[in-house]
Assembly symmetry: C2
Homo-oligomer: 195 residues x 2
């Protein structure tokens, strides 16, 4: 956790409680086949991934930068990528790797998923970083589609720190479940009445 990280408010007591209930979360856990073994596998994964955070972000940002429809999310008022906006989001994206692997799925976690959700949606995009952007929201279709690259790129990084293929596979699938669960939660403001 890095309390000095720009716009990072996970542990801010002022964060609004989530409207997602414990029952909603239990059902989502069931839908993604979540178990305590996944939580444990992600904690092991954190030991491997967190020291590689900058290298992981280099891969992800390289991918975003190579795709105009993705880098458009980080446009300033002139439509060109805003370097300060990219840098601020990068810091929080790195912290997200650690949080995804180590945070309990409790009320605070749910509250921060809501915050991440509205920061992707028209509700609040660009406000955290004070950006005047041509991008008013991250399209829902790409939020969902990015489950794939955010998942598949992590396997090589797990392999860097774990030689047993079965152990890598366990951590890899725990990561896949956690990413998909996160995107399901982040979709809420996009479809409040049919979420």
């Amino acid at each position: 956790m890095n309390s000095a990280l720009s716009g990072y408010t996970y542990d801010d007591p002022a964060l609004a409680a989530s409207g997602v209930t414990r029952g909603d979360l239990a059902a989502l856990h069931a839908s993604v086949l979540w178990s305590d073994a996944d939580a444990a596998a992600l904690r092991r994964a954190a030991d491997i991934l967190v020291p590689q955070t900058e290298a992981i972000l280099d891969v992800w940002y390289g991918f975003v930068g190579a795709n105009p429809h993705l880098v458009a999310t980080f446009a300033g008022a002139d439509g060109a990528p805003d370097a300060a906006y990219l840098a601020d989001v990068r810091g929080r994206f790195g912290q997200w790797i650690a949080d995804l692997c180590t945070r309990d799925h409790d009320a605070r976690w749910l509250a921060y998923q809501d915050e991440i959700a509205v920061r992707h949606h028209t509700t609040k995009k660009n406000r955290t970083d004070g950006v005047d952007s041509t991008s008013a929201y991250v399209p829902l279709r790409h939020l969902i589609a990015l489950i794939v690259p955010i998942t598949v790129t992590i396997r090589d990084f797990l392999t860097n720190g774990e030689s047993d293929p079965a152990a890598v596979d366990t951590m890899y699938h725990a990561w896949m479940k956690a990413v998909t669960l996160s995107v399901a939660l982040w979709a809420r403001p996009y479809s409040p009445t049919t979420w």
Copy 2:
């Protein structure tokens, strides 16, 4: 393809064209890291998976049946599972396995993804099968979350027909990409203005 399959209209010339453009699809393909190699891998996967369709559906329906929040989708007017509705959807779900592996991502494919989308959403749920259901839509969060079980359960079936782990892995990831891409397309009616 089974033209006698109840409610299956993939090849119906009357199917409305999709509003998803070729440019939209190209961007989604890029977001899920899609390549020609994935299309080829899925065609190989079809040879393995299609003969196992009923066994795959047994696993998926077993999972749905074990989860009240999922089986609720198939409720009749009294809130209890409707056997005819379950059976009709099962037939199309089996055909979907073949279609996901073998159909080109062309205008017809996009049009039928739109049709599948509205059949999950309030727009058209229950109409195809003439069901009076207590379920008015499949919640978007579970549509997204189910990417995980629909993906991870397929690996054992691939292994049944392919002994080379690398070849299984290639087909497995092509499947993951295709499933995620499909869900991204199916999310459109849930969030038409921010899709």
